[in-house]
């Protein structure tokens, strides 16, 4: 299958007063046209930094992409100069951010903010681009788009602002849409509407989506494939079905166990993962998850596990992934 975006062994570090924060420490994945990749993990697992690295939005001099490669349609993104990156941003790869309340500029009209990318990337004039912005607002389900385009962001509700952000991201018909927790700041009913809208628009435009979230429910609904991240490293990837129904990494089990479910005993307690995510300055030696892993062995404390292929495309960075005996020994944990 054609590969649209390929990220290999990406390492993005931040220099702070306390030391080097290894926010992303060796992430690799491929993205194919029109597919949805879910990137899941706790806060601080490096999901957003991965996305920002792809867009080359990491702010220097503190933040720096230290190693790895990002290839978009055979172009080396990390080798691009500022002008080339500019043509990528907003045009080929667009991004939706977490908080729609603060992501729109308060002093410009919503329609103008959407029209802006059309002016810079598509060479439209002010009038054409504004007309197209109205169409886009209609596409994302804003009622009375002609008058709404002339409104300022503070006149929009949170859900409407996120719709406007989506319209802005889709303006130039990008190949990849990176959605960084697009529903986290919205209330539940609006969340469902926004996800529905994104899926609907993906069907129409054929954009690939990288859906970054800590919400497994969102991923289960939308993603074709899933990448689970922990402490800046990928711990498991595979198709959504494989990851949800045959999780191989104890961290993924933990995430799934901490979800409330209506199909098991209502009185059953949730099983949260014990402990806290590690400091990204002093990542535990060996497997980063070992201090929280109930099944950790001596080997886990010394040796960094590499992602092991299980059943072809499904892989987990656990020494015991796919180990049938190990599974038996821990029977019951995945139920």
């Amino acid at each position: 299958m054609e590969t649209l975006l390929s990220v290999k062994d990406l390492k993005t570090y931040f220099t702070t007063r306390d030391g080097i924060v290894k926010a992303v420490d060796g992430v690799s994945f491929d993205l194919h046209p029109s597919e949805t990749l879910g990137v899941v993990g706790e806060s601080g697992s490096g999901k957003s930094v991965t996305a920002m690295s792809i867009m080359r939005l990491i702010q220097g001099p503190q933040g720096k992409i230290e190693a790895g490669s990002i290839t978009f349609r055979d172009q080396d993104v990390l080798a691009m100069d500022e002008e080339e990156v500019r043509h990528l941003r907003g045009d080929r790869i667009a991004m939706i951010f977490q908080d729609p309340m603060t992501s729109l500029n308060p002093v410009f009209r919503v329609g103008d903010q959407i029209a802006e990318s059309l002016i810079i990337h598509k060479g439209m004039n002010k009038k054409e681009s504004f007309a197209r912005a109205i169409e886009l607002l209609e596409l994302v389900g804003i009622p009375k788009p002609e008058s709404r385009a002339k409104d300022y962001p503070h006149q929009f509700s949170g859900g409407m602002r996120q719709r406007a952000m989506i319209a802005m991201a889709l303006a130039c018909d990008p190949d990849i849409l990176i959605a960084d927790e697009p529903t986290t700041a919205l209330d539940v009913t609006i969340q469902a509407q926004i996800l529905e809208l994104m899926m609907e628009l993906q069907r129409r435009t054929g954009s690939a989506i990288i859906m970054i979230t800590h919400d497994l429910g969102v991923v289960a609904d939308m993603a074709d494939r899933v990448l689970v991240m922990y402490a800046g490293r990928p711990v498991e990837f595979g198709t959504a079905d494989e990851v949800f129904y045959k999780p191989q990494h104890p961290y993924t089990w933990g995430l799934l166990d901490s979800l409330p479910r209506h199909d098991i005993d209502e009185k059953g307690n949730l099983c949260p993962i014990q402990g806290q995510p590690p400091s990204l300055i002093n990542v535990p030696t060996g497997c980063a998850f070992n201090p929280r892993c109930p099944y950790a062995k001596d080997r886990c404390r010394t040796e960094v596990p590499q992602i092991r292929d299980i059943e072809g495309k499904h892989g987990a960075a656990c020494h015991f992934a796919g180990d049938v005996d190990f599974f038996r020994g821990c029977a019951g944990v995945t139920s």
Partner: protein, 325 residues
């Protein structure tokens, strides 16, 4: 918007009443020592008859409350009374001096905008660079320099020493508003720079910190992610947001300058309202003091109103008078 402006203008009436009452209290016997009539005649002894005539001529024989209402009555006709000392209508006196104050204030604001805002922008864009350090350092020094000292130092450097060094070829005028030697605007340079100095430093600092703060906002990241040039991100998306507090500051400053700059006007012998009112206080020339303060209060309120209206153009979240969205 019109309703809002009208409301603001109506609000000026109680302010005027309050201001005039406070000013008339100063006139009450025993509040401030000094007799205005004695100030007119100076050291010279005068006969009780002449004294009484002067008292009556200037309306000082009536009770204070009655004086106040007579004054208010005249005020509604635009009559601010007559100076005890100069024997000329107060309105005429200020019609001569106020334009000078306005001229100086606007020149100072231009300096503030060009140098203050400009330096702040450069400083923020090139954070931690040589220019940033230079701006930060010089503004720290400038805010702590007293205006009278700076004014005199500038006079010495540009007016006196410069003249010596260049053999009289280049120097700046240090006194008055006009002369044969220079066009009128050259006379403005040193007073305007002196008057603007502290505010320019503050404007630069506010501009710098605001621009840096705005550059860290989410919507700036959005603008960058859209593929805008860094220049457009800074000058279009960031600057318009960052300017709002700077406009507030400069607006307030312009309002303050409308009340005249006593120190600057004195140092540079600039015939503005500050100097006029200051001298009148010493001479207990109440019509000038009261009339002058009323004119100044009016000007400050008008400027503040204009500043408030200008917000609406910068910040769409501010809308006056209309119903809530």
């Amino acid at each position: 918007m019109l309703k809002y402006i009208l409301r603001r203008i109506l609000q000026m009436i109680p302010v005027f009443i309050g201001v005039t009452i406070l000013l008339f209290i100063l006139k009450a016997p025993g509040i401030l020592p000094g007799d205005p009539i004695r100030m007119i005649t100076g050291e010279k002894e005068i006969s009780p008859v002449l004294y009484q005539t002067l008292i009556e001529e200037n309306g000082l024989d009536k009770p204070l409350v009655q004086q106040y209402f007579i004054y208010l009555g005249k005020l509604t006709h635009g009559d601010l009374g007559k100076s005890y000392q100069k024997d000329r209508p107060v309105t005429e006196l200020f019609a001569n001096t106020y334009p000078n104050t306005i001229k100086l204030a606007f020149a100072a604001i231009v300096v503030e905008i060009l140098i203050g805002v400009g330096a702040g922008i450069i400083s923020a864009i090139k954070q931690y660079s040589f220019w940033d350090v230079l701006v930060t350092l010089s503004t720290s020094i400038l805010v702590s320099v007293p205006v009278f000292w700076l004014g005199m130092v500038l006079q010495v450097i540009f007016g006196i020493e410069m003249k010596k060094w260049t053999g009289g070829a280049f120097f700046l005028p240090i006194s008055g508003m006009s002369g044969d030697q220079f066009p009128a605007w050259v006379h403005l340079i040193l007073p305007a720079v002196t008057l603007a100095s502290v505010s320019t430093a503050y404007a630069a600092r506010i501009m710098r910190s605001q621009l840096l703060e705005v550059m860290g906002q989410d919507y700036i990241r959005t603008a960058t992610a859209k593929g805008l040039r860094h220049r457009s991100v800074v000058f279009k998306h960031a600057l318009k947001n960052a300017l709002i507090p700077v406009v507030t500051f400069i607006g307030l400053d312009l309002g303050a300058m409308m009340s005249g700059a006593i120190l600057t006007e004195t140092i540079f012998n600039w015939p503005g309202v500050g100097l006029e009112i200051y001298l009148a206080i010493g001479q207990r020339d109440w019509p000038i003091v009261i009339g002058g303060v009323i004119i100044v209060v009016f000007a400050v309120m008008i400027i503040n109103l204009l500043v408030d209206i200008s917000y609406a153009f910068l910040d769409p979240r501010i809308r006056y008078g209309g119903a809530a969205e």
